[in-house]
Symmetry: C2
Subunit: 218 residues, 2 copies
């Protein structure tokens, strides 16, 4: 997707402060998913781990056992959290102009390990982004469970957003004369009907907020 | 998804040689997608970039402009390439046991910059994994386009696979008595009907191999 001829088609902006006119793009990309790829440096080499996140206007929250390995070695160690949504394939007349429509956000910084009320807030935000309604419905973490969980926050002060949309752009020039089909193949993530656990006791109805999760596209 | 109580539910194996009985898992995860997250270290900090890849039995191929930034600084620099497929949400009785069903592969190593025939092979594998049939259908790269493209190969000699499947596993114990619904919400990526470019000349039919891309779930 990077480097597959999409340069002209791709908006790419990096900003270091809030209030940017691209801030809405960042918020929208972060709101549209719940799985990120967390990059850390461990013993000098990069490690990229998929994990769940939740985002507010100010911070991105995620579980911290992987990141804490790098932070133990260096409390100022930076991480990079990337969220990507693939929206489709761009099929151009030439292989060179092929690409992917996508929305991606990268957030950089040194995460903080949360404690106390802020830790609970982080867990709530994370849970609600993955499974809206479950924080109020499911049993909340016990003191022991909380102690066994590391939650981190990464401030949304340094981030970049890349958005690539639209059809292929090689419709002018010699390639247009080749008589080849060009266009895009849309892609999206959809959720299916919720499946009850095999050991679910009889008579427990599917709550409306879970039924709603199974009704749409992310 | 890591660290959301899925530890017991998750198979996680790391292997450093081919022939492992988990090798089939690695091949299946890599075959099921075409977008990876590439982690590199640039000036000491991690950077995670989404990009397209193609995989054979021996290597993973990807475009190289980002990775080459880190390799210029250190030709032996390692990268980490992670491929993740999200298969659904695990909604347990407790927030602590919530999780995600997913399949993920991480491949580690120092990538090689390809030249000559191997570069063309890499581009073909990459193109065919993203858009099967397009290498033979679309116009192949010109000499100039090839020169403008960096293609890298990462050998599949050091990798790990994590696969998390199945229902929540808190059906025994006190939480099962809470009377809460538990189960999973399946998720998958689907492709839609191919959309012709607005500037597509009249009379160019949709080729069967592109029509086929729009007919299924990834």
């Amino acid at each position: 997707m990077d480097e597959i001829g999409t340069t002209e088609r791709t908006r790419h902006r990096r900003f270091r402060e809030n209030g940017s006119h691209d801030r809405a793009d960042l918020d929208a990309v972060l709101a549209a998913g719940f799985v990120c790829h967390l990059g850390v440096v461990v013993d000098g080499t990069p490690m990229v781990v998929p994990t769940c996140y939740g985002a507010t206007r100010d911070a991105l929250y995620f579980h911290g056992s992987v990141a804490s390995r790098s932070l133990r070695a260096d409390p100022a160690a930076e991480v990079c959290v990337t969220v990507t949504h693939v929206d489709g394939l761009i099929l151009a007349r030439s292989v060179f102009e092929h690409g992917v429509n996508y929305r991606s956000a990268m957030v950089y910084g040194t995460p903080r390990v949360l404690t106390g009320d802020e830790k609970l807030t982080g867990l709530r935000v994370l849970t609600e982004q993955c499974a809206p309604g479950q924080w109020d419905y499911a049993r909340r973490p016990s003191r022991k469970e909380l102690a066994a969980t590391t939650v981190m926050a990464l401030d949304l002060t340094e981030a970049s957003v890349k958005i690539s949309t639209g059809p292929p752009d090689d419709g002018e020039g010699p390639d247009a004369e080749l008589g080849l089909w060009a266009g895009n193949v849309p892609m999206r993530t959809v959720t299916g009907t919720p499946v009850p656990a095999p050991d679910l006791a009889a008579g427990i109805a599917l709550p409306p907020h879970i039924a709603a999760m199974g009704e749409g596209a992310l």
